[in-house]
Point group: C2
Chain length 154, copies 2
C-alpha cells in the first residue's frame, strides 16, 4: 500500500516530491515516510525545521487518508492546528512515523462525521534519525464528510 500513497502525494501535493518524500509503509494503523537530508538541508547542515514539520504533517495526514479510504469514506481532510517539538538536530536522512489504533476514538470520530458532517481527530508523528527520536509533532485534523458508508464497529 506504500506505492499508491506515494504516487498520490507526489501528484496531488507536489511539495512532497520536492521534499524527496518516499513512503515506506502505509496501512490504516501506521504510515511511515522517509526523506533525505540533501533537499532539506539548512544553513547549518541539518534538516530545515520547515521540512521536518512538512514531512510530519504528510505522515499524519497520510494515516488519516488511509483510515478514511479503508472505511470507504469520502471526505475533505484539513489540518486545523499543529504543534512541533524539535528535540535533536537532524543530521542525516530521517523517518517520520504515525500510528493510530485507538478503536474508541475512531468510532467517536466516525459517529461525529455521520451526525454532523464534520469531525476532528488529533494525530501524532514521531521523527527519527540515526536511531534517535529527533522531533514530535501533534496535529488536529478536520474531516468534512460526504459519507459513502458508515461501517459497523469492529
Amino acid at each position: 500500500m506504500a506505492e499508491p500513497l506515494e504516487r498520490y502525494l507526489h501528484t496531488r501535493i507536489p511539495l512532497s516530491a520536492a521534499l524527496g518524500v518516499r513512503v515506506l509503509e502505509a496501512t490504516p494503523e501506521c504510515v511511515r515516510l522517509t526523506a533525505p537530508l540533501d533537499p532539506n538541508i539548512n544553513h547549518i547542515g541539518t534538516v530545515f525545521g520547515g521540512s521536518a514539520a512538512a514531512v510530519a504533517i504528510l505522515t499524519a495526514w497520510g494515516l488519516l487518508h488511509m483510515r478514511l479510504a479503508a472505511a470507504g469514506l469520502q471526505t475533505q481532510t484539513l489540518i486545523q492546528r499543529s504543534r512541533m517539538d524539535y528535540l535533536q538536530p537532524i543530521r542525516a536522512d530521517f523517518e517520520a512515523e504515525c500510528h493510530f489504533a485507538d478503536a474508541v476514538s475512531w468510532q467517536r470520530f466516525l459517529t461525529m462525521l455521520q451526525r454532523h458532517g464534520r469531525a476532528r481527530l488529533t494525530l501524532g508523528t514521531d521523527l527519527r534519525c540515526l536511531g534517535r527520536t529527533a522531533g514530535r509533532f501533534e496535529g488536529a485534523f478536520v474531516a468534512l464528510g460526504t459519507m459513502l458508508a458508515i461501517p459497523d464497529p469492529p
Copy 2:
C-alpha cells in the same frame, strides 16, 4: 535588504526555492515573504499546511537573522518549538509577515546570550491571503552564540 536575504535563503535553505519564496521586505523590525499557490498546492486546491508552516518558519527565522546581523552577532539559530493555527484555507498566493520591535525582550535576549552563550526568543508570523488572516504561527528559537560584540542598549 530583501535581495540578500532571498539569496541567502535560496542558497543555504534550498527548500525555500522549491516553495517559491520571495522576500518582499527584510529589516530588523519586519520580514515579509510571499509564496505562490502553484508549487504549494494540495489535493483540494489550497495551500498545503506543511508549505504554510515552512514559509512561516522562514519568515520568523529571517527576522531573527536580520536582527542578529544588525547587532553584529554571529550565532547559530535553531527552532526549538512551534505552534500553528490554520484559520482559513489559502486559495491563492500568500504572504507571511513577522514583526518584532520589543526593545526590552531583545535586550534580555542579548544579555542572556552574552552571559550564557545561549538565549531563546519567541516570534510570531501572520499568514495572509486575499486580504484576510489565514494562519498564525508562533515559534521559539534558540541562538547559540559566538559573540562578536554586544551593542549598548538603544
